[in-house]
């Protein structure tokens, strides 16, 4: 492999790893926020335990989202400085918005939510998780703005060999963006909901004593999955309005595209015509649980395949019909440099990803007893009442 292939492989590997965790973050954030809202409203211990259990799953997953994201952010400057040299004045703006505003706030509010348990007033604590959700969505929005600019460079003109920003509004109303952004949010919601469904099915299958806890979680998952897959599919098909001619002509992009579409259609059939109508009896019908468990990883795979279709379809362009991927490579980058960093990043992040999934699986297996999230507040409460 030459240096270009290696740099592309590095971006694909770290990017896919990043999105595996991000897609779940995007889906679980609003679901945990809804659980927290019901807890704040009702004060019921059941809702509190749901918030803590699914919240802990959410934050364990979040850890890998952060660390893989750090590598993504710096990779542009490491491997693809040709992109910022040519289009940084345009492409840099949404990336700056994402890191400087959206992620900055998301991280700060998440810290307040995790460590403010029992410290913050009830409604202020609730506000934190909604702010985390809103800023996570904002992060996704600006990343999609940046990516959509690569797909369809709107709002910029060539001046002196570099692209210059002329119309920021055009960047935000890019035809490659307006349907892909809700498509991504829908896919996130669907993925998060299917994790609720699969994990609850696992516990119910094992005849858990937490019947009410996992029955409610499973039903919430089915409902959210139905909304999620509906949004994903609708906005998925609408995207074809804005796809440039010939983008999916080659096999490399057409194959992932058709896998995603066929898989998505099939999933929609299962969710809307099997799971949703049976929502009342699914928690009791134990024979369905192995199917529900087996479905859990499928949305993750679909999400990665979807990105492969979108990104491979753009080849050989980094910026559609403006800048090739080869020209975007950092000048002077050698195969040795990329190989060394590729091995380092993939080995470390890959290992951490495995550890993270083991921790998530362990949490699901152990159920909602003895949770870390909110444990400090738990110890404080008896002291106050005595």
């Amino acid at each position: 492999m030459d240096v270009l292939d290696l740099a592309r492989l590095q971006f694909a590997a770290t990017g896919s790893l990043h999105f595996l965790f991000v897609v779940l973050t995007l889906g679980l954030a609003p679901l945990v926020a809804i659980m927290h809202t019901r807890w704040a409203w009702s004060g019921r211990p059941l809702h509190e335990r749901m918030t803590r259990f699914w919240g802990q799953l959410y934050v364990i997953n979040y850890a890998l989202g952060i660390v893989t994201g750090l590598v993504m952010e710096f990779q542009f400057g490491l491997s693809w400085s040709g992109l910022t040299d040519y289009a940084g004045d345009v492409f840099g703006a949404p990336l700056a918005m994402e890191t400087l505003v959206a992620f900055f706030l998301e991280s700060t509010f998440l810290g307040l939510w995790i460590f403010g348990w029992g410290k913050l007033p009830k409604w202020a604590h609730l506000a934190c998780i909604w702010l985390v959700t809103a800023t996570a969505y904002a992060s996704a929005f600006f990343i999609m703005v940046a990516n959509s600019f690569l797909q369809n460079p709107a709002g910029a003109v060539l001046s002196g060999g570099r692209l210059e920003l002329t119309d920021f509004g055009a960047l935000l109303t890019n035809k490659a963006l307006i349907f892909s952004f809700p498509h991504v949010l829908g896919a996130g919601l669907f993925t998060g909901a299917m994790v609720l469904v699969g994990a609850s099915a696992y516990q119910l299958r094992r005849r858990t004593v937490e019947v009410e806890f996992f029955t409610r979680s499973l039903r919430m998952g089915v409902l959210a999955a139905s909304i999620g897959i509906f949004l994903t599919l609708s906005f998925g098909y609408m995207q074809f309005v804005g796809v440039p001619e010939g983008k999916f002509d080659g096999d490399t992009a057409a194959i992932p595209l058709s896998i995603m579409m066929e898989g998505g259609n099939l999933l929609a059939l299962v969710v809307l015509f099997f799971m949703l109508p049976l929502i009342a009896v699914l928690p009791r019908w134990r024979w369905t649980h192995p199917i529900l468990i087996a479905l859990t990883p499928v949305p993750f795979a679909m999400a990665i395949v979807g990105w492969l279709a979108r990104e491979l379809g753009r080849q050989p362009w980094m910026i559609w019909e403006k800048l090739t991927v080869a020209d975007a490579l950092s000048p002077g980058l050698t195969a040795g440099m990329v190989t060394a960093s590729l091995v380092g990043f993939v080995a470390v992040l890959g290992m951490l990803a495995i550890v993270d999934y083991v921790l998530i699986a362990r949490l699901i297996k152990r159920g909602p007893d003895d949770l870390d999230l909110g444990a400090a507040a738990e110890q404080r409460a008896p002291a106050l009442s005595s």
Partner: protein
């Protein structure tokens, strides 16, 4: 306009050193002051509520670099390629240590991740000294220049001192001392000094390489209205987790 964005960049980078400096410092001190597992738990619990709000300053620095200085972004990151890769891996390992250390009970598991926190903190602190020296010399010097390595040691020691002061402020008596908030502010400034010096020296170069006015206007319009909210969120963190009897209470999530 260029001056505003220079100020934003400078405040973010200096702020990162002053804030994340004590997180890294406490990470460095884990094997020194945290002889028992419970001591290490208390040290991590003391910094835990601040880490997420602190490390994100560097994410914002990188965002400003790509948004306001797109031409410098490649120059800086590519110019320091092996160092940036190493520091990124150190950052990743440090974060993983924090997130993972309490997820499984057992002394071996926790000791391993505590070691990762220290190793990551060391890599980042030392790396910053080397990186600042390289930036000050326009990336012309060898990354192994003795002065760069010396600055790496200096930054590491400054961060460790800052971390010690933080512990003495937030968990009075734990490290054998109690320090007021003013002392923490002082060591914060001290920790940021190397970054401030390089920023001051590089002012002209940064201003010359600013993005065009159209880009900076858009950035200003989009970012500056949120500045009070960002500042407010940071102040909220500091007010919520100021020192008290239970400042290093365990169990903490990290």
């Amino acid at each position: 306009m260029e001056l505003i964005w220079y100020a934003v960049f400078a405040v973010l980078l200096a702020g990162y050193f002053a804030l994340e400096g004590f997180d890294l410092g406490v990470g460095l001190l884990l094997p020194v002051l945290g002889r028992t597992g419970e001591d290490r738990d208390r040290m991590v619990a003391a910094v835990a509520p601040f880490v997420l709000a602190n490390e994100v300053w560097l994410v914002a620095v990188a965002g400003t670099l790509v948004g306001a200085y797109p031409l410098l972004e490649g120059e800086v990151l590519f110019g320091l390629y092996p160092l940036v890769v190493g520091m990124l891996l150190a950052w990743v390992v440090r974060d993983a240590g924090l997130w993972f250390r309490r997820r499984i009970d057992g002394p071996v598991w926790r000791r391993f991740w505590d070691l990762m926190i220290t190793a990551g903190s060391l890599g980042l602190s030392f790396g910053w000294g080397v990186a600042l020296y390289a930036a000050a010399t326009g990336f012309a010097s060898s990354p192994l220049h003795p002065l760069g390595l010396l600055l790496g040691v200096v930054v590491t020691l400054l961060f460790a001192f800052h971390g010690w002061t933080f512990l003495a402020w937030r968990a009075p008596g734990f490290a054998g001392a109690t320090r007021p908030g003013r002392a923490l502010l002082g060591t914060g400034l001290l920790a940021a000094l190397p970054a401030i010096a390089v920023l001051a020296g590089g002012m002209g170069h940064l201003l010359d390489h600013s993005a065009p006015t159209a880009t900076l206007s858009v950035l200003s319009l989009m970012v500056l209205p949120f500045a009070p909210i960002m500042l407010g969120a940071q102040v909220w963190t500091w007010r919520t987790f100021r020192p008290g009897k239970a400042a290093n209470r365990i169990p903490s999530f990290f």
